[in-house]
Structure formats: structure tokens, C-alpha cells
């Protein structure tokens, strides 16, 4: 059975009409039309589909779209401030934490959520905070460095 409702993605209300069993990931990609959120496993194991729901990181592959009604959804496309990259985006790039880039959107959103709740995470806390996001390319070293550098920058 389908249902019509609004999804608020990156501050914009998108009217959608989707089956109740559609997951949030497929609606963001297929109906809202934002493809920065990736599907890596459809099994909550890889974190490539991570989005923020009211600031909390969620694997959108395993979350029904209808459950996201009335909540603020943030995808990678909503992380930039206008045309200016968020420090996390800039730093993960400058530190060399991007290779194939497929895990990168989810990784940035998990890191974003981590820094929201802990503005001075230890290396161990960063590693645990990102442990729901698999990266096959980098060995994680430069991603962790980028998150720590961002924390320092944001604290000023």
C-alpha cells in the first residue's frame, strides 16, 4: 500500500508517494533524486547509506521512509554551507582520506554526528564513532586524522 507524505531533506520538503515498505535509502535516491547516499549492502553492515535523522546517524537502508515523516533528514548534499565545503569535507580531502569515495558520504555524516555530541574526541573515540562505516581503501588512518583535525578547527 502506498502513502503520500512530505520528506524534509536538507531543509527542503519533498512530496513523495511511496509504498509503505520502501526504505528511506531508495526513496532518497529514487524519488527525491539525491544519489550522494550510497547502497553498499542493504544489511546495515557497511554504513555507506548513513544519513542524519534529527542529527542522529541512521543506516537509511534499514529505515522505512514513512518513519522519517516530520523529521529533518540530512544527506551528504546538505553538509555544505552553500558553496563552501564543511571543514570535515575539506579536511578528509586534504588529509588524503578519500580514495574510491564510495564510503565517503556515510563516513562524513557519521563523523558529523560524532563531532556534534563530542567536540573533542580522542583518537579511540573517533575510531569507535566511525566503526559503523566500512572503508576498503584507506586503512582509516587519514580519515581519523581528518576528523581530529576538524575537531580542533571547530573548537577554534
Amino acid at each position: 500500500m502506498s502513502e503520500s507524505f512530505n520528506l524534509n531533506v536538507n531543509g527542503v520538503d519533498y512530496p513523495v508517494n511511496v509504498e509503505q515498505d520502501r526504505n528511506l535509502l531508495s526513496v532518497i535516491r529514487g524519488e527525491v533524486g539525491l544519489t550522494g547516499t550510497k547502497e553498499g549492502c542493504d544489511d546495515c553492515e557497511c554504513g555507506a547509506c548513513m544519513v542524519l535523522l534529527d542529527g542522529q546517524p541512521v543506516n537509511s537502508c534499514s529505515y522505512l521512509a514513512v518513519q522519517a515523516q516530520g523529521r529533518a533528514i540530512t544527506t551528504i548534499e546538505g553538509v555544505m554551507d552553500g558553496e563552501v565545503m564543511h571543514p570535515l569535507q575539506r579536511n578528509i580531502l586534504e588529509e588524503g582520506g578519500v580514495q574510491c569515495g564510495f564510503c565517503t558520504p556515510g563516513m562524513i555524516l557519521s563523523a558529523h554526528a560524532l563531532l556534534q555530541r563530542n567536540d573533542a574526541p580522542s583518537e579511540e573515540e573517533v575510531r569507535i564513532g566511525l566503526s559503523g562505516n566500512l572503508c576498503r581503501c584507506t586503512g582509516y588512518t587519514k580519515i581519523v586524522a581528518a576528523v581530529q583535525r576538524t575537531a580542533v578547527e571547530l573548537r577554534g
Binding site: 535516491r29 539525491l34 544519489t35 550522494g36 547516499t37 550510497k38 547502497e39 553498499g40 549492502c41 542493504d42 544489511d43 553492515e45 557497511c46 555507506a48 544527506t75 551528504i76 548534499e77 553538509v79 555544505m80 565545503m85 569535507q89 575539506r90 578528509i92 580531502l93 586534504e94 588529509e95 588524503g96 578519500v98 580514495q99 574510491c100 569515495g101 564510495f102 564510503c103 565517503t104 558520504p105 562524513i108 573517533v126 575510531r127 569507535i128 566511525l130 566503526s131 559503523g132 562505516n133 566500512l134 572503508c135 576498503r136 581503501c137 584507506t138 586503512g139 582509516y140 588512518t141 587519514k142 580519515i143 581519523v144
Partner: protein, 763 residues
């Protein structure tokens, strides 16, 4: 810690931000699954779901009749063509017999994925089971069921030695190994086994195909677009110039996306359906269907050694799991034999390897094929030999490892190489020899890996505003190798990397390149880009010479200017020269540098010799890994990995560090958690990320990266060798040797899971 030992490096270290980075961090970059075309249909495959069987009935009538189904194809609907990298043993769709669970029996295109799946379920597929070849060693025993009854009729290079279930036998022999073993002071024998494992890129593959008239464009997540094109052309009997392969951003590959995969199936569906067709793999399909996964191997080693620690003889016998089809694995046997000898100066050797057909998923080139697991087995054996004679394993390696000007085990004499420096640098960084807590140990291993020369091409143009484009056949799979091409062009032309945009991953736009395989991109396409840039540099010098009334040979290109040598003030901006050229002879360069000369080995005799015994510009590495063992559970934690690599000149420092860190992390997974488990019918039991465990950020240790930079002549650009695969070679081996120190004996099967470590502790 990151350190670089500089030696004769020609390029300055430069901080490098990759050109595709902004796309990737903002979400605007498109990957194959992000492509959408009006009217596109969804594709699904009907897989065999049985490891070995004769097809008795395949009826797609009901599936074709379903509303919303536009095409259903089987072997009857495509040309009867066999293909394969060396042994042509595969067809697009199963014919008569299915040989592994992920073999494609039929393909469907329908209005949406659910309809396509219902059509797949409506296909009538009946079969008569055949005996399953599930064990790699017994596969070679006389009387065993043949995986391919018609193996002898398959096309294959004449040099290959094939017989029954052995798809490729190779050996390397030198000296008199039996005599040397008889005369040795000690002889040590060891047996090891390694399980297969997966490339597991985070992006599951996707393919979109669209026909316009008699031409097809295919967007696909391949590492090797020209190889994919060749596969489409071969199997659908099309000329190269009517098939265009475009790769959007590629979400990792590690070899798993090498070779020709599903482009032809989807193109064939789209042609019949007269609509664009899109395939997106699930993670389960990504585990089961590709013909590229890391091969399991069974190893037997015998090494003779003098009391003073000198190795005098090595015998090795390896049986490699080829799986059901040979894919690109035909060269694995001789390559694995080389890894069974290792970077050691051994005068008497006999190493042999067989590539055994089984009813498993096919093996293929996953990051340094055969190397990490064979290095793990050999280096475990080396520690056993060192222990036997009571010698420190690092001192033992220093004594026996190859070195500059020394002859290696296959009879190749090496130019200036850095393996000895690698051992010193890695062990020093790890603090090897210093006291450790009782439950900690440092294991050390050395590894090697060839570089692969290939034809490769690029064009460069400078437009009227002075901005440049590099149009290259090279493929970016994440390593940053293609991104680094900008730096090479900029250095030739006295410009900045940011002055160039890349046009790449499009077979109709650029000349041939082998693709993101064999760590070859910078090695080969780097030379092509430098050659192309050199042509434009010559043009710029001529233009500047006319303007400045100087000889072209005296013009220097630097900092965006063309100026007379020794007179920086007497110059003209390159942008001005480009504007001039735009009204006359355009600034266009093309390059395809000839491959460097082949290496040679003398004194060895080989059967099934496919050219793997002598390596151009060989790379060397040493990894020293500190681990902690939980003696109650067998759980091993990697605390620190210290690496040193000789990959020649390093051109992109940040990118190179990333390759080492990523290769090490993959090696830790191979060491401890990543292994395919089969049931008694040859079906994978752990084809999901919940059961097949990749390493997470919380598992990752600090990784020290050191480069022993030696300018290497007759190699890649500026004396570079390759890099992407080499860092994956020695990690698992070093971890194994650390565990063996704590357990008291090696864990003889890879991966060394907690259960296996605990088992070794009890025996």
C-alpha cells in the same frame, strides 16, 4: 609515524589534493548505480544455485509472457562464443552444464526490479546433479570428476601445460635441489593451507546499457574498460568502434572488478528489449557471482639450510583453487611458484604449482594475486627454519634475502634494490628486539611483487585560454594514480596540476590502456602522459623562441612562463602562447611510451613458462607487526604495523601512503577474519558482510609508512616502480609470525581466526 628515506629522488615531495575529491566529498560524483536513463528497465539474473549439474530443462516461456517483462535471454539467444583471459572455458550463459552456484543461466529485463525477480522465479530450470569437486587437492587425483569434460578442446596459449582438472601447471627449477637437500645440515618441511577470500569493494557493481542504432554505450563499474569492451565485442560479435564503455566514478575494485563481467549480458538485454537496461548487484551477488576472488592454496615446503644459516635448497609444491572457470588466473601457477621461492638467494630450487579446477566461484586477479597468502605460508616456513637452527628470524632474513647485484632464486640478477634497507627500516620502527609484555610479540616478513609493462596511451591539449585537458585511457579505481597524471603533465610544461582537467574512463574518447590492474597505471600511462606533454612542450618552446628571438633549445618552461634559460625576465606567459596557438597550429600532444626492456633470468628451466620468472623493476617490502594475544579466547589484536617499501621513486607521497595503509588493512583482514567457507556441496556459507568480516575503523592499528626511494632506471616515470598491490603482500605473513611466537607454533591455516589460533594453542 611517516618517514621517507630519500635517495636519488627526482621529484619534490608535494602535497596533493585529488582532482575527483570534491565530487566525492560533496555527493555530486556519479557512480554507475547513480545513472538513470528515461525508460530504463531493471535486469536480474537467474543463477544456477547449484555447484555442478547437467541442465535437463530450461524453459523461459512463462517468464517471457509476464506483463512488464521485455526480454529474457539464455545461451540460445547469444552467439555461441567461449571466452577467457588465457583459457577460453567460459560462455555468457551456462550451456548444458553449470559449474558453480553463481553461474548465470538466464537474464531478465523488466519494468522494475520486483517484476524482473518474479520473472526470474518463473523460469523453469531443471537439472541432474553431477559430483561436486569441492577439494582442491583431490581435484587433481586420477579418476576425479572433471569440471570440464571438454577441457582439451578449449583454446589456450600453446605454452600452457593443462591436463584434466589442472588448468595451468608451471614449475621453476634451478641447480640440483635433491643433492642440495641431501647435503644440507638441516631440512625443514612445512604444510600450510589458505582459504579463498574476496576483494569486497564497498560499491556493488552496476551496469547500464543503451543502444542507439547499431551502437551501444555501456556505463559500468569496471576497473578495465578496454578489457570490458573486448569482452562485449568478442561475445556479441561487434566491432570495437560500435561499443563505447564509460566508467563513472568507480567505488573500489581491488581486482574484483577486473576482467569482463556483465556488460555483454546487459547490452544483449537492451538490444532485445529496445530500451536501456540497468543492473545493480546486491551485496550477496557481489560475493557469489564475480569470477574474481582471491584463490585458496595448499602449500608444501621443504628447505635445506647450512648450520651457519645459509639456505641452500628449496622445494615447494602448491595447489591453487582455480574455481570453475579460469578467468584471468592462467598465470597464477608460475607467479605463485615465484612467491613460494620468495626474495631469497637460493642456488637450488624446484617450485611447482597447479591451478586446479573445482566447483567453486572462479578465482581471479584480486590485489596481488597469489602473493599475500603465499608470502604468509613461505614466511611462516622461513621462521620455522630460523627456529630450527636457533637463529633470529630477522638476522636469518638479512643473511639470505636478495640484494643489489645478487642473483635471485629464478636466476635474475637485480639492479639497485632496497630489500635489506626495508628490513632495517621496518624492524627499527617497530622496536624489534626490545622487551615486550608476555602476551605481545612482533612478527616480521618480507615480500616482493613485479611491475607490469603494457601499451598505454594519452592525449593532451592546451586550449586557447591556456587550460589543459588530459584525455587518457587510464582507469581510476580509487588509488589516485590517474589523479597523479596531472602532476606529471604540469611538471613537463611548467604549469600547475590544477591547470589540467582529466577526461578518462571512456573507451571512445581515449587511446588504449590496460586499466586499473597490475598496479600499472602510473607506471605505463605516466610515461604516456609525459610523452604527450613533451610534444606540447616542444610546440611551446618553438612559439616562445619566435616571440623571444631565442633558440627553442634555450627556452625553459617554469611557473606558467616560457623564458630564456638564465634570463627569467625574458619570458612570455604560457597562456599567451596558447592564445597564439589557438589561431594557428593547435597545441595537441599524444603519447604512448614504449615499454621498458624485459628482465631476464638465466640458469633456470621452467615448464609452463608464461614469463613470470624475471620481473621488471621488482618491488620489495618488509612489514613488522606487533600483536597481542588473548590466551583465553585466541583473539588476536594488531597493535601496530611498521612498513618499509622499495617501490622506486615516490611521485605522490600522500597517495602512496594511502596505498600502503589500505593494503596493510586488507592484509590484516586476510590474516584474521576474511575467509570463504564452503558447505559440502561447494556453496559459500558466508556470503554477507555479517558473516564475512571486514576490518573496521575500531580494529585498525597505527601504521608506520616508510619508503626506500631508489631511482629505478628502465621503469616508470622519474624512476618509479608500481605500488598499489605491493603493500598487501607481507602483512598477513608478519602477523602469522607474531602469533607463532606467542602460541609456540604456526597457525597453519589462513585466516588465523580466533578459533584456529585457540586450536593451535591446544595442540
Amino acid at each position: 609515524m611517516t618517514a621517507t628515506i630519500k635517495k636519488q629522488s627526482k621529484t619534490p615531495a608535494r602535497r596533493f589534493v585529488r582532482a575527483d575529491g570534491p565530487d566525492k566529498v560533496t555527493g555530486s560524483g556519479r557512480y554507475a548505480a547513480d545513472m538513470s536513463l528515461t525508460g530504463a528497465l531493471a535486469a536480474k539474473f537467474r543463477y544456477a544455485q547449484v555447484s555442478h549439474a547437467r541442465i535437463t530443462k530450461l524453459d523461459v516461456t512463462a517468464a517471457r509472457a509476464m506483463p512488464g517483462v521485455f526480454a529474457v535471454l539464455t545461451a540460445d539467444d547469444v552467439p555461441d562464443v567461449r571466452f577467457g583471459g588465457m583459457v577460453q572455458d567460459r560462455t555468457l550463459f551456462a550451456r548444458d552444464v553449470v559449474r558453480f552456484e553463481g553461474e548465470i543461466v538466464a537474464a531478465v529485463a523488466a519494468v522494475d526490479a520486483d517484476t524482473a525477480q518474479r520473472a526470474v522465479d518463473a523460469i523453469v530450470f531443471e537439472y541432474s546433479p553431477l559430483p561436486v569437486v569441492n577439494d582442491v587437492v583431490s581435484a587433481l587425483e586420477p579418476g576425479t570428476q572433471l569440471v570440464h569434460e571438454d577441457w582439451a578442446s578449449y583454446t589456450a596459449p600453446g605454452v600452457m601445460v593443462r591436463k584434466g582438472n589442472d588448468a595451468s601447471y608451471a614449475s621453476i627449477a634451478r641447480g640440483d635441489v635433491d643433492k642440495a637437500l641431501a647435503e644440507a645440515d638441516f631440512v625443514v618441511k612445512s604444510h600450510y593451507e589458505s582459504d579463498g577470500c574476496h576483494a569486497a569493494p564497498i560499491e556493488p557493481r552496476a551496469v547500464v546499457a543503451q543502444w542507439e542504432g547499431n551502437k551501444v554505450t555501456i556505463w559500468t563499474s569496471t576497473q578495465v574498460p578496454f578489457d570490458a569492451r573486448a569482452g562485449v565485442c568478442e561475445t556479441l560479435e561487434l566491432p570495437n568502434n560500435r561499443v563505447r564503455i564509460i566508467v563513472p566514478h568507480l567505488g573500489g575494485g581491488f581486482g574484483g572488478k577486473c576482467g569482463f563481467h556483465y556488460e555483454a549480458h546487459i547490452a544483449a538485454l537492451a538490444r532485445v528489449a529496445k530500451r536501456p537496461v540497468k543492473l545493480v548487484f546486491s551485496r550477496r551477488e557481489e560475493f557469489l557471482a564475480p569470477d574474481k576472488r582471491r584463490e585458496g592454496i595448499v602449500y608444501d615446503f621443504e628447505t635445506g639450510v647450512k648450520a651457519d644459516g645459509t639456505i641452500t635448497a628449496r622445494k615447494a609444491r602448491l595447489v591453487i583453487d582455480n574455481g570453475a572457470y579460469t578467468s584471468d588466473a592462467g598465470f597464477f601457477s608460475q607467479l605463485a611458484a615465484m612467491h613460494a621461492l620468495g626474495p631469497y638467494k637460493i642456488p637450488n630450487v624446484f617450485a611447482e604449482a597447479s591451478l586446479a579446477y573445482t566447483n567453486h566461484q572462479p578465482s581471479g586477479s584480486v590485489r596481488a594475486p597469489t602473493a599475500p597468502q603465499t608470502c604468509w605460508a613461505l614466511e611462516s616456513h622461513i621462521d620455522e627454519v630460523a627456529n630450527k637452527i636457533g637463529m633470529d628470524p630477522v638476522a636469518f632474513r638479512k643473511l639470505n634475502a636478495v640484494d643489489t647485484g645478487v642473483e635471485g632464486p629464478s636466476g635474475q640478477t637485480y639492479g639497485e634494490i632496497g630489500v635489506q634497507q626495508c628490513i632495517d627500516a621496518a624492524t627499527s620502527a617497530a622496536g624489534y628486539g626490545q622487551p615486550l609484555p608476555d602476551d605481545e610479540a612482533i612478527g616480521v616478513a618480507i615480500g616482493w611483487w613485479p611491475t607490469f609493462a603494457s601499451a598505454s596511451g594519452a592525449y593532451i591539449k592546451l586550449d586557447g585560454d591556456g587550460s589543459g585537458q588530459i584525455i587518457t585511457g587510464a582507469q581510476e579505481c580509487g588509488t589516485g594514480a590517474v589523479m597523479t597524471l596531472r602532476q606529471l603533465a604540469a611538471d613537463e610544461l611548467g604549469m600547475q596540476p590544477e591547470d589540467f582537467e582529466l577526461v578518462y574512463q571512456d573507451t571512445s574518447a581515449a587511446p588504449y590502456d590496460m586499466g586499473a590492474t597490475g598496479s600499472q597505471t602510473l607506471f605505463n600511462n605516466g610515461r604516456a602522459v609525459i610523452a604527450a606533454a613533451g610534444q606540447i612542450a616542444d610546440q611551446l618552446r618553438e612559439l616562445a623562441a619566435n616571440k623571444l628571438e631565442a633558440a627553442a633549445a634555450d627556452i625553459v618552461l617554469a611557473d606558467g612562463m616560457a623564458h630564456v634559460a638564465g634570463s627569467p625576465d625574458r619570458g612570455v606567459a604560457i597562456t599567451k602562447l596558447a592564445a597564439t596557438a589557438a589561431g594557428g597550429e593547435l597545441l595537441i600532444g599524444h603519447g604512448s611510451g614504449p615499454p621498458p626492456p624485459a628482465a631476464t633470468a638465466t640458469g633456470s628451466t621452467c615448464v609452463g613458462d608464461i614469463g613470470m620468472t624475471a620481473w621488471r623493476a621488482p618491488q620489495f617490502s618488509c612489514h613488522a607487526v606487533r600483536v597481542r594475544l588473548d590466551r583465553d579466547t585466541g583473539v588476536v589484536r594488531v597493535l601496530r604495523v611498521s612498513t618499509a617499501h622499495d617501490s622506486g621513486t615516490i611521485i605522490n607521497q600522500v597517495g602512496a601512503q594511502g596505498q600502503v595503509e589500505g593494503g596493510v588493512m586488507m592484509g590484516i583482514g586476510q590474516a584474521l577474519t576474511e575467509g570463504t567457507q564452503y558447505d559440502d556441496q561447494g556453496n559459500q556459507r558466508n556470503a554477507a558482510l555479517l558473516e564475512y568480516k571486514l576490518q573496521t575503523c575500531a580494529d585498525a592499528p597505527p601504521i608506520d609508512v616508510q619508503f626506500i626511494e631508489i631511482y629505478t632506471p628502465d621503469a616508470g616515470p622519474h624512476g618509479a616502480k608500481s605500488l598499489a598491490e605491493a603493500p598487501n603482500v607481507a602483512t598477513a605473513a608478519a602477523i602469522g609470525n607474531a602469533i607463532a611466537k606467542l602460541v609456540g607454533s604456526p597457525v597453519r591455516r589462513l585466516p588465523m581466526t580466533a578459533e584456529r589460533v585457540w586450536g593451535a594453542m591446544q595442540s
